[in-house]
């Protein structure tokens, strides 16, 4: 019989070891899954986790790592503040979409003028769009006490429909011969989110993500705001006595995560995706939740976790084309990773005791 005994304090060693343990367990279970699908598990695992970095075509995949990782890290950094404070913004996908729509709309409004000011304006519009979309659940929570999880999630479906209507209506390419989708922003120099060093994958979104990591680190460890966020999450009552305004905390955390998700959407629509289209969003907003938890809600951890998740996306695509592995299997593996992560977390907060419990 195994019993759990609460630790007086969370174990530091385990809190670092559990993400690695979870990745290892996911690889083992993922391998079993691939074997059940009739693939060679070792080859598949190698394809997913190593080939993007070390195969002979790695020069092609490494830039992809930055392109896929940047939105994940950017969104997850924003989410981590709210998750720490017990504010659950689950609708980052919707804020990502609205950020992309707003940013793209500003860029398209200037077409075909060329000016250095257009791209900065688009970034501001993207951030504002995401922030405002996240403010809806935030304000409803503060004013009416509605559940922000449900409202932010409902707004994802609303945003998806909005995206479709934009791609078919207001933002449709007038020269597109009636096909859905906007003009291609990446072919419009003033609005394009170009690579800073050609061929490196290093676009402005990657730079912004790295800056966000640094700022988040400073805010969480060196600034009173980070302290208040942690306090509000760990002990809401103590936070109230310390003078933390819970309503302001909700609005700031929602706005922050929405703004960063909106920025991620703008960088995606102006760069790798290139246009407003019906199938623009691919679930970065949901995967970012896994990234935030895998990184233990810590900025540096999120950076590493974002890299790992980007790796599984790219590796998954390679495995799909080379080994015929269904893409859903990768999605399943990502869900599995979050499960294992939550499961092994028990080791951080509890100690295992083996043997029968003594009656005292």
């Amino acid at each position: 019989m195994i019993t759990l005994e609460k630790r007086p304090q969370p174990s530091r060693a385990w809190s670092l070891a559990t993400p690695l343990l979870a990745v290892l367990l996911t690889m083992i279970c993922g391998g079993l899954l691939f074997a059940a699908l009739g693939k060679n598990p070792f080859e598949t695992i190698r394809t997913i986790f190593l080939d993007p970095l070390f195969s002979e075509f790695a020069w092609f995949y490494r830039p992809q790592l930055l392109i896929k990782g940047a939105p994940l890290v950017l969104i997850a950094i924003g989410l981590s503040f709210g998750f720490r404070a017990g504010i659950w913004n689950i609708g980052a996908e919707g804020q990502y979409i609205v950020g992309a729509i707003c940013g793209a709309a500003v860029g398209l409004a200037f077409y075909p003028t060329e000016s250095f000011i257009i791209f900065p304006l688009m970034i501001i519009a993207g951030i504002l769009g995401g922030t405002l979309w996240a403010m809806i659940p935030g304000i409803l929570r503060v004013k009416f006490g509605t559940n922000e999880i449900l409202v932010s999630l409902m707004l994802v479906y609303v945003a998806e429909q909005l995206m479709a209507s934009m791609a078919l209506g207001a933002l449709r390419n007038p020269d597109g011969m009636g096909f859905p989708g906007s003009r291609n922003l990446s072919q419009y120099p003033s609005a394009a989110n170009l690579e800073i060093i050609s061929g490196s994958g290093m676009h402005w979104g990657v730079v912004t993500a790295l800056i966000a990591v640094i700022f988040a680190y400073i805010a969480l460890s060196r600034h009173i705001f980070g302290f208040n966020v942690r306090l509000a999450g760990q002990s809401p009552r103590a936070a109230k006595f310390a003078g933390v305004n819970p309503a302001a905390m909700i609005l700031i955390c929602m706005g922050l995560s929405g703004g960063l998700a909106g920025a991620a959407g703008l960088f995606e629509v102006a760069g790798p995706a290139g246009q407003v289209s019906i199938d623009f969003n691919v679930g970065y907003g949901f995967t970012a939740i896994i990234v935030a938890f895998l990184g233990r809600l810590h900025p540096v951890g999120i950076l590493l976790a974002g890299g790992l998740m980007a790796l599984t996306y790219i590796g998954g695509e390679i495995a799909q084309s080379n080994l015929g592995l269904p893409l859903a299997a990768i999605q399943l593996m990502q869900g599995m990773l979050l499960f294992f992560l939550l499961a092994v977390d028990v080791l951080t907060n509890y100690r295992m005791r083996f043997g029968r419990r003594q009656v005292v």
């Binding site: 009416f144 409902m154 999605q331």
Partner: protein
């Protein structure tokens, strides 16, 4: 737009059908939350139920076996949630989200060979005498058996929670798990059973979508129905009677927007499709929720 193309009797009749999947998922979640557990994985369990039910029904040719398979599939998935939250004491919000992400992936993988196939037909019951009443007959008494089974489950749950001893224990566990534990009730066992009931109901709701309402399998076909079910539980203040009202209200909005689309309303299809989600938000804002079960969402660890 031709509003006369909308037949009010057909509208009200399809309302009951549209409300059924949400009603099934919501009644399961209501029991789970009354036991003090917040399972946000309804969407994941629903879509897993949808694919399990579809696979079983296609292979056996029997929709009834499909529904049984869906209930088992949903319950099995919920066991993962139960083990994580009850035995490994993980955060219920995060675990519920994980369950949704996992369920979406799992269902997409399982359903790969089943895209584009039609489900075996599940005929409507034409209840003799009652079904022949003009107006009311077609609205209420000419549906498939699952509509009535859903209503029966709601009624049984209401009676169980209100009048049975087991229902009282379940509510006690949900209101104050420390006190229930001190009285000698098995908090974890009660909660595990409630979670599995919730999973089975969500599975039935999902299978109703893939076997009756659509009736096909497509990836991500639940499209937020599980989340709407969660919202309806809050709307209902955790009471089965009001749950029925919420589900039918929601079913009404869905059916109305579909009818307006078909009638060629001047509003674009995309904006009409937003209606159910916006209505859910509006309902959450307007209706002040009653008091939630006391221990909702908290982990229980018997330290003494």
């Amino acid at each position: 737009m031709d509003l006369s193309a909308i037949n009010p009797i057909l509208l009200l009749a399809s309302l009951m059908v549209a409300a059924t999947p949400i009603l099934l998922a919501a009644i399961g979640e209501l029991v789970v939350e009354r036991a003090g557990v917040l399972n946000l994985g309804v969407e994941g369990m629903m879509i897993t139920g949808a694919v399990c039910g579809f696979i079983v029904a296609v292979n056996t040719g029997s929709p009834w076996l499909g529904f049984i398979g869906a209930a088992i599939g949903g319950a099995l998935l919920s066991v993962i949630f139960g083990i994580l939250t009850q035995f490994l004491l993980s955060n219920q919000v995060a675990t519920g989200l994980a369950l949704t992400l996992f369920g979406l992936g799992l269902s997409a993988l399982m359903g790969q060979g089943y895209i584009g196939i039609k489900a075996p037909s599940f005929p409507d019951w034409h209840i003799p005498l009652l079904g022949d009443i003009p107006v009311i007959g077609p609205i209420i008494f000419q549906h498939d058996p699952m509509v009535y089974l859903g209503l029966a489950i709601v009624a049984a749950t209401w009676a169980f929670l209100k009048y049975s001893r087991a229902g009282l224990i379940l509510r006690a566990v949900g209101e104050n798990h420390e006190a229930a534990h001190a009285l000698g009730y098995h908090v974890m066992r009660v909660r595990m059973l409630a979670i599995m009931f919730g999973g089975a109901c969500a599975g039935l709701g999902g299978a109703y979508l893939s076997l009756v309402r659509v009736p096909q399998w497509t990836e991500g076909m639940t499209a937020g129905a599980g989340w709407i079910a969660l919202a309806i539980v809050v709307f209902a203040s955790w009471r089965p009677g009001r749950l029925l009202l919420g589900a039918y209200l929601f079913g009404g909005v869905t059916v109305l927007q579909l009818n307006l689309q078909a009638a060629g309303a001047a509003i674009a299809v995309e904006y009409l499709s937003m209606a159910p989600y916006l209505a859910t938000i509006a309902v959450l804002v307007i209706m002040r929720a009653g008091r939630a079960p006391g221990s909702l969402g908290q982990s229980f660890h018997a330290s003494r």
